[in-house]
Amino acid sequence: MKTKSSHFFNLQDSAFKYLLIGLSLLVVALFATIAYVLIDRSSYAVINNGAQFLLGTIWDVSREVYGAAPAILGTVVSASLAVLLAIPVSLGISIYFTEYAPRRARFYLSIFVDLLAAIPSVIYGIWGLWIIAPLIKVYVQQPIIGVIGWIPLFSGPAYGISISLATFVLTIMVIPIITSLSTELLSRTPMSLKEGMNSLGATKWETVRHVGLPFARLGTFAAIILGLGRAFGETMAVTMVIGNSYQWPFTTSSLFSPATTITSKIASELYEAFSTLQLSSLLELSLALLVISLAINITSRVIINRISKRGFS
């Protein structure tokens, strides 16, 4: 009787174990399917477009010419600028949070940062399009064009919707990602080092500057890469505020000009793609985005894992 019941338990045990393994493998298979489908369906475009896909500046459905350079450059420029702008703000918030903020303010501050990350991107989009675009046009773009409009980078006309507006919205969306990681890293600065600095008569700023920041350097780098990945893949907000024009950066290089990104190209064209080559080219863009995002993600994970294993820097 006893052996029977324990045998019964063993059967349930292994059934449960293999169920878990099966479901885990299913996710691996699903991920592999995503990669396979994109590779498979874009191979037609890879063969037909060739290097022209990466270098070409024209995307013309009627002539079946597909060059993605403006979209790729739009993504790289808007995402990189957004991250560059977000770094000082995020580090500033982290420093205020860990060193200067009163205890009660910290709680609300962390909620604010969490909520900033939780706002749906389509809402950033409608806000950017209907609130910020008209303001930025009149109060930022037009005055700048009036003064230094002779520099191609800041030449007119002002539309509001533009690559600079997309960068602005992306910056706000990236800030919570970098902030939450860098705050955690800064707050893990060993107390003994901080107390050591204190006993030497260092100010809070000197402690952060010479102990906290060097301590969190590698992790902050990982946070920045993670933010870059988010900015690369962001779709809705960018599509709504960037204007989806293929003119930038080859016909005009102005930061006040509408532009396009990989994601906004896919979002605005995929469901009306009729020709096989057009569809396949859009899938080639998706594949490029997937590869870039995975590379970014893996890099930051490797760094974060190294930090959590070895302690710090």
Binding site: N10, D13, F16, L20, I21, L23, S24, L25, L26, V27, L30, F31, I34, V37, L38, P88, V89, G92, I93, I95, Y96, F97, E99, F107, L109, F112, L115, L116, A118, I119, P120, S121, V122, I123, Y124, I126, W127, L129, W130, I172, T203, K204, W205, E206, G229, G233, E234, T235, M236, M240, T263, I266, L270, L282, L283, S286, L290, S293, L294, R301
Partner: protein
């Protein structure tokens, strides 16, 4: 003299860091304020419960979009939450640094780094192009794929913090491993699992890119799961870009509802978990 300038630098950095903090909070307040001021005026019982009217007719609402968002979220949750929990259990309780565990972990981490639009493109290519019409089921596939890593990570992390003593006590009582895992460890970790699932639900409630080429949009009540379906997210996108003032103001109204759903879940979950954390320390 030198002491003063060092202290001045410190004070300067304090106010500078406070300044950028305020600058970063401003957009959040601004977004919420503009959604309330533009969206509240269109709210009415009719707006929440009726179908959108054709362009040019006044009135009408977003009832089908609210229902559609909940249907698609429910469909995505039904398959992906159990899967995410199962994977979390596997990684926390069964994976002892095995190769398989490393592969699963890599897949989960990679999945969480995939841009949401890629899931939409994938579901579009796999399902919509095959059945040759837009369907809410493809949207549920895309959104579910986004939920799995979130739920799996929350499950793994909240099960790992359950004390080893509990597991050992259960072993001593002769309870089989599956029952120890499900009835004791998972049960103790259920708060974390639940909040992870809720946050994942909130996260996909705001996702629009995976819906654009899967569920598309519809001006009618949902008639079947394999049909195009209206959602709040796509409605906001379409209406905001339409440029017609009536539709834009309806997009603001829909944004207010979407924001209420997403922020309510977030604030509730974070409030509860923080309270617990405070009690524990």
């Amino acid at each position: 003299m030198r002491v003063i300038s060092r202290k001045m630098t410190d004070r300067l950095m304090k106010y500078l860091s406070l300044l950028v903090t305020v600058a970063a909070i401003t957009p959040l307040v601004w977004i919420i304020a503009s959604i309330i001021s533009n969206g509240a005026s269109v709210l009415s019982w009719e707006f929440l419960t009726s179908l959108p009217k054709p362009f040019g007719e006044s009135g009408g609402g977003i009832g089908n979009a609210i229902l559609g968002t909940f249907i698609i979220n429910a469909l995505a949750s039904v398959w992906s939450i159990p899967m995410g929990v199962a994977i979390g259990i596997y990684l926390s309780e069964y994976d002892r640094g095995s190769k398989l565990g490393a592969v699963v972990r890599t897949a989960i981490e990679s999945l969480s780094g995939v841009p949401s639009i890629i899931f939409g493109v994938f579901a579009f290519t796999l399902i919509v192009l095959t059945v040759r019409h837009y369907t809410a089921l493809a949207a549920a596939l895309a959104l579910g794929l986004m939920m799995i890593p979130l739920v799996a990570k929350a499950t793994e992390e909240s099960m790992k913090v359950v004390s080893e003593d509990v597991r050992e006590a259960a072993i001593a009582l002769g309870i089989p491993k599956w029952a120890r895992t499900v009835k004791i460890v998972l049960s103790l970790a259920r708060g974390g699992v639940l909040s992870g699932a809720l946050l994942a639900f909130a996260r996909i409630s705001g996702e629009t890119a995976p819906l654009l080429f899967t569920a598309l949009f519809s001006f009618f009540w949902p008639i079947g799961l394999d049909q195009p379906m209206a959602t709040l997210q796509v409605m906001i996108y379409n209406y905001a870009l339409s440029g017609f003032s009536d539709w834009v103001s309806k997009a603001w109204g829909a944004s207010l509802i979407l924001m209420l759903i997403v922020l309510t879940i977030n604030v509730a979950v974070r409030g509860v978990t923080r309270q617990k954390y405070a009690e524990g320390t």
